[in-house]
Each structure stands twice: as C-alpha cells, then as structure tokens.
C-alpha cells in the first residue's frame, strides 16, 4: 500500500506539472461557462428588441388586444397609430421586425385584418397573430347581438382537463423543492464526470508505461498490483482536483446567474450517497481502463475491442431519454442494474423521482461493488501480463487466456 501511495503521488505530481493537463483543467470549465455567459448576453439582446406592432384601431379593441398580448407572454411591443396603409408601407421600408395591423369595419364584417410587415420579421409572427383571433371574434359576436352569457359560453371554448394518477404526490412540489433535489445530484454528476474523464487518463498512463518501456524498471521496485492501485488512486485524486476546479467556477456562477444558494443545498446527507455512487462509478471504469491500457502499446492503433471499452462510460447517455420519460419504468430499472450504466442512470433517476426507490438503490450498489471487485481482479491479471508485452496490442483472445491463467 505504501508503494501504491508513492506511485499515486508521482502520477499526481507528474500531471500537475504537465502543461497539457493544466490547460485541460482550466479550459474545460472556462469554455462551458464562457459559452453560457455569451448565450445569456445575446439572449438579453433579444429581449430588448421584440416585435414592434403598431395597431391602427377603428373599432376600439386596442385595450383588449394589449391585455391579451401581455398575458400571453409574446414578445410584442404594441403601440397605437393612426397612419394610413400607404404611409405605413413607406415607414416599413427601413424598419426591422415591425408590423402594422389595420383593424376596421372589414375586420368585423368579413373577419379580415390587413397586416403589413417589414421585410425581416420574427419567424413566429404569423403564429403569434392568431392570438388576436379571440378578442376580434368576441367583438364580432357582440356586434351580432349576443347576450353576455351567450358570449361567455362561446368564448370559453372546450378545455381538456388531464389528470395523471402518479403526478398527484409531486404536484405540490415547488420549484424550490426541485432545486433542493437537483443541486446535490448535479454536484455528484460533476464529480462523476470529472473522475470518469480522469479515468481515461489512466488508460493513457498505463499504455505510456509500455511505450516508454519503463514497466520492467518500475516492476523491479513494486508489484504489478501496487503499480495498478497507485495509478487508480493517483488519477482519482486528479479527478477530484478537476471536479474542484470545475466547481470553483460552477458554484459562484450558479449563485450569481440563478441566485441558487448552492452551499445549503449541497450540504445535505443525500449528497454523501450521491457522491459515493459517483466514486463507485469511477472505481469501476478506472480498473477497467488500467487493465485495458496495459494491453496497448499506443493509443493510435487501438483495436475495435479497446475502442468499444473506451465508449462504455458514455453508455448511460442512451438511457437519458427513456429514464426521463419514465423514471420508474423497465428500461430505467435495467439501466440501474447494469454496472456500466448504473452510476449515471441512478443519479439521473434520483434527480427525477420524488421518492427514492431505496431497495433498487441498495441492490444496484451491491451489484456495483461486486462488479468492481471482479473488474479489479480481472484488470490485475491482464495488467500483470500486458504491461510487459512489448510491441503489439493484445487481442481479446489473449486477454481471456491471461484471465484464465
């Protein structure tokens, strides 16, 4: 164990001195939050420049229209005007995102509205216009002499009231409750992602050992098991470093942008379980990567088998859709019990589900721990032989032979 720690220390020191690691460490969060910031800057601009809608009102519906627009949340700036269509056309020549509506007798009698727009106009403008149908039809009905009760009955339309059986319990969840649940899970998710990515560095580090032909020199001082453990521990710490750097950017950003009191949400007992799930996920992938990495002389010539193994951490992404649409469904449960997907799927489900399925959590953690134990044994066997094989990548058949040996 002491030797494993020495190796872990070395791997940490070596990477922290490595320029490309340091750049990756800071560039990733800077890029992510940079783009989010840029997005919000441009998004803010859009709010300022809503569609200018001038209404030439001859039938006295302006106030109703204004109310309808305001309550619908459509991004219109409604103003009253009394210029003629000819003048309007002239004015529109050098305007953007502007429209003139002419509400007059024709509107009431024939149900037509003349709409003049600038050459460039919001793509949804035509759809948004349908909003005005309500107030205008109401006016038409009034002109036809319907009583207020009749009017109310017609304008009410038909409403479909849907009730989903299982949503009832959660229906009284406020937005704040949601956040309280999701923030710790995002926190654990960041940790899982960071350490899974650093797990991929393990892969490189194990094959580096072969490429630089130093394996035999190192193994004259430590056992293959210690070397493997050292790498797993070392890259775990590096993953945590990556997560911490990421959070240093993420926490202030979230507090400033969305005004979320992250600290008080994260410091709950549930976080410990979530982080534990993330760490188990890391251990599974790290032991797999360290074993496979030892079978490869260089990354460039990775065989199909090795390539497929590299993709395994991304398997949970396949489950995102089904899990979100039915977090207690069959597919979600299957994902929970497959060791490669269980950390990701479990975190996702716990984020969506209102009550945690404790039984399933326990079973899946047990499955995870057992698979980690098996994976470490297998990786140990593959690592021991693979690390000393020079010049070529091992085939799955060879690896199987080493495992059985």
């Amino acid at each position: 164990m002491r030797n494993a720690l020495k190796i872990a220390k070395w791997e940490i020191k070596r990477n922290l001195k490595n320029k490309s690691f340091l750049i990756g460490l800071f560039i990733t969060p800077i890029m992510i939050f940079g783009f989010m910031l840029l997005g919000s800057i441009f998004g803010g601009d859009d709010e300022d420049t809503g569609t200018n809608v001038y209404i030439h009102d001859e039938i006295g519906v302006f106030d109703t229209v204004k109310e309808t627009v305001a309550s619908s949340g459509v991004d219109w700036k409604v103003k009253q005007t009394d210029i003629s269509e000819k003048e309007a056309l002239k004015k529109l020549q050098d305007k953007e995102d502007t429209a003139y509506l002419f509400l007059n007798k024709d509107t009431l009698n024939q149900g037509t509205v003349n709409v003049l727009t600038s050459e460039e106009i919001n793509a949804y403008f035509t759809d948004q216009l349908q909003l005005l149908q309500g107030p205008i039809q109401q006016l038409q009905a009034k002109e036809l002499g319907l009583s207020d009760t009749q009017l109310a009955a017609i304008s009410k339309g038909v409403a479909f009231q849907e009730t989903q059986a299982k949503d009832e319990a959660g229906s009284d969840l406020t937005a704040e409750d949601m956040l309280q649940k999701i923030v710790p899970i995002i926190f654990a998710g960041i940790i899982l992602l960071s350490i899974v990515f650093s797990g991929m560095y393990i892969f490189q580090s194990a094959s580096q050992e072969k490429k630089d032909k130093i394996a035999e020199i190192i193994l004259s001082s430590v056992t293959p098991g210690e070397l493997m453990q050292g790498k797993i521990i070392g890259y775990f710490v590096l993953g945590i470093v990556q997560a911490v750097v990421f959070l240093i950017f993420a926490v202030p950003f979230a507090m400033w942008k969305w005004d979320i009191p992250v600290a008080s949400y994260v410091l709950v007992p549930e976080t410990a379980l979530l982080v534990a799930i993330a760490i188990l996920g890391y251990l599974l992938f790290a032991s797999m990567f360290v074993g496979i990495g030892a079978t490869m002389a260089d990354m460039g010539s990775a065989g199909q088998f090795q390539g497929m193994v590299m993709m395994l951490p991304f398997l949970p992404f396949i489950f995102i859709g089904p899990v979100l649409s039915d977090p207690s469904g069959l597919i979600a449960q299957i994902g929970t019990y497959i060791p490669f997907t269980s950390p990701g799927v479990l975190l996702l489900r716990l984020a969506v589900l209102d009550t945690w399925p404790w039984m399933q959590i326990v079973i899946s953690i047990v499955i995870l721990i057992v698979s980690i134990w098996i994976m470490m044994k297998l990786a140990g066997k593959i690592f021991k032989v693979g690390i000393l094989m020079y010049g070529k990548n091992a085939t799955p058949k060879e690896m199987w032979k080493w495992i059985r040996a």
Binding site: W10, D212, I214, I217, S220, Y390
Partner: protein, 308 residues
C-alpha cells in the same frame, strides 16, 4: 565472499517449448558473474524469473537472508528498458530511488555525483526526451545503482553503447564489485565480458554449457590454434604432430591444437615444403568458444565434451 543469490534447477516453458532446462548457479558478493549465450538462449528469461517478473515452473530462486524477493536491495537494468520521456532527469532518478525506499537527500547527492561522473553534469533539469539514446542509457544505469544495491542485475548492459561509454560502464561495474556488490550480468559481447567477469555461466537453448571461474574456464578450454595463409594440402596439414582438427577455407587453414603444446617446439615440426604467407599462433578465445556453442560447431575436439 558470501552467496547473495542462488538459483536452483530453474525450469520454464512457454506453451510447449521449454526455454529453461534446469539452470543452477550462484552469485556472490564482490564478484561479477556473467550469463553468456546467444540470442534466445534463455538469459533474459532467467533474469526475469529471478526478478519475479515471471514465475518459474520448477526450481527455486533464493536470496540469502530473505524469504521474499528483496526488491529494495536489488538494482535492475532490464534488457527492454526506457524511462518516462516527458520527465526531467533528476525527477526520474529521485522517483526510482524513492520506490526503493532510499532517502531523498542522499539520492540527490549521489545522483549529482554520478551525473558528473557520466558526463551529464548540468542535465539534471533536462527532460529525458531531449537526451540522446546514449545519455538515456547512462541515466538508466545510474537509476539502477543509485540506491546502493547489494545485488546488481544487468541484462545486456552494453548493448547500444559506444566504446567510450562501454569502458565507463565496465569501470563502474568493476568498482562496484570491488566495493562488495554482487553483480549478475548477461551479455553476448564476449570480449567485454572476458575482460571483466570473475565467473561465467554459458547457456545454449536453456541448458548450461560451460560454467566456472573465468581463469579455470580459460585454462580448461583455451587450446592453441594456428592460422596459416597459403595453398596447402589438407592431408599434409592433418599429418602434422599435435593437430587435432583442421578447418579449411580457401587459402586459410586453421589448425586446432592441444592446450599443452610447446609453441616453439611445435613450430619446428612444420614441414619444409609448406606454403606460408602468414602464420599466427594463439589461444582460442572465449569469443570462439561462444560462437562455436552458438552455431553448434565442433571446433574443439577434446576438452569440450560437455556439449558434444
């Protein structure tokens, strides 16, 4: 001189091929023991079995005073060797010393002294990828001796070295032996080994061919041989007294003689009519014994029945 390492009856097979067929030898402190043999004879396999990198099918490896492999007192320079490329020389050396539990301060001092000795002064903060292949080999060698090992195992230490570096390595290895380090080295460069080893162990196809102290081996196997350039009849040459065996190639004939002949007397027995443009009388070198073993040629008819 105490025995540091004893290897008994080592056997190892890869698939169906047996590569070690009962290897037995000892390494003692203060002496240089050389394992010699052609490529594929089983030298590196023997060493890897000693180092616990492979496990023998049969036989035992015993380190005096230890039940397990005492990694920290062994210095090892493998045949397939290298160092991390994107790391500075001093960092690399200190890390390897740390893995051997050698105190960092002492390791740094010794590293500086050795770098200077090996003409690498001022390179301690240079990355290994920026050094030449020869310089890299020097750093590897320093790494293997930095922690003052009691047993130093060198697998083909001279391969790829220029003559100047070879001499430097040879001197250093000799010094270490004189200070009491037990040294086991493997090589196929006989001339180098002949100059420095105390004992040798020659293997061919996983089996012992010759072993013993260098002087004894030399005395036992170093028959005289006479090389003559000139057109001569094979029958004439074979008729000369003391000739055991003649090897003829174009105009050059090599006459293999016994080891007890008196050179002056023997020269006088040469017939008058012989055509001699050049004549050389010397002893068979280890190199020739080695080549003979490697190519399974029957150079010496008497004396080396061991592998006949």
């Amino acid at each position: 001189m105490g025995t540091v390492l004893s290897v008994k009856n080592l056997e190892k097979s890869f698939k169906t091929k047996q590569v070690l067929k009962g290897i037995t030898f000892e390494v003692r402190s203060g002496e240089i023991m050389a394992i010699l043999g052609p490529n594929g004879a089983g030298k590196s396999t023997t060493i890897r079995n000693i180092m616990g990198i492979m496990y023998p099918d049969n036989g035992s490896v015993h380190f005096e005073g230890h039940t397990d492999l005492p990694r920290n007192i062994i210095g090892y320079l493998p045949e397939e060797r290298g160092l991390y490329k994107n790391v500075k020389v001093m960092d690399m050396l200190l890390y390897l010393a740390e893995l051997k539990d050698y105190p960092a301060k002492k390791a740094r001092e010794r590293a500086m002294a050795y770098l200077e000795k090996f003409d690498l002064k001022g390179k301690e903060h240079v990355k290994l990828e920026e050094l030449s292949k020869g310089m890299n080999q020097k750093v590897q060698f320093i790494a293997s001796i930095l922690h003052e090992p009691e047993l130093l195992i060198l697998d083909e230490p001279f391969s790829g070295l220029d003559p100047v570096s070879q001499d430097l390595f040879k001197e250093e290895i000799r010094d270490l032996a004189n200070q009491g380090t037990a040294i086991l080295l493997s090589s196929h460069q006989m001339n180098l080994v002949e100059e420095m080893c105390d004992r040798l162990f020659m293997i061919q196809a996983g089996q012992k061919v010759i072993d013993g102290p260098l002087d004894e081996v030399k005395a036992k196997y170093s028959n005289f041989k006479c090389t003559i350039r000139g057109k001569n009849q094979l029958a004439d040459l074979e008729g000369i007294a003391g000739v055991q065996h003649v090897q003829q190639q174009d105009d050059v004939n090599i006459l293999y003689l016994g080891k007890d002949i008196d050179p002056v007397q023997w020269l006088k027995t040469l017939p008058d009519h012989m055509a001699i443009q050049e004549l050389r009388l010397d002893r068979i070198s280890l190199h020739e014994i080695f080549v003979a073993v490697a190519t399974n040629k029957n150079l010496i008819t008497k004396g080396v029945e061991v592998y006949a």
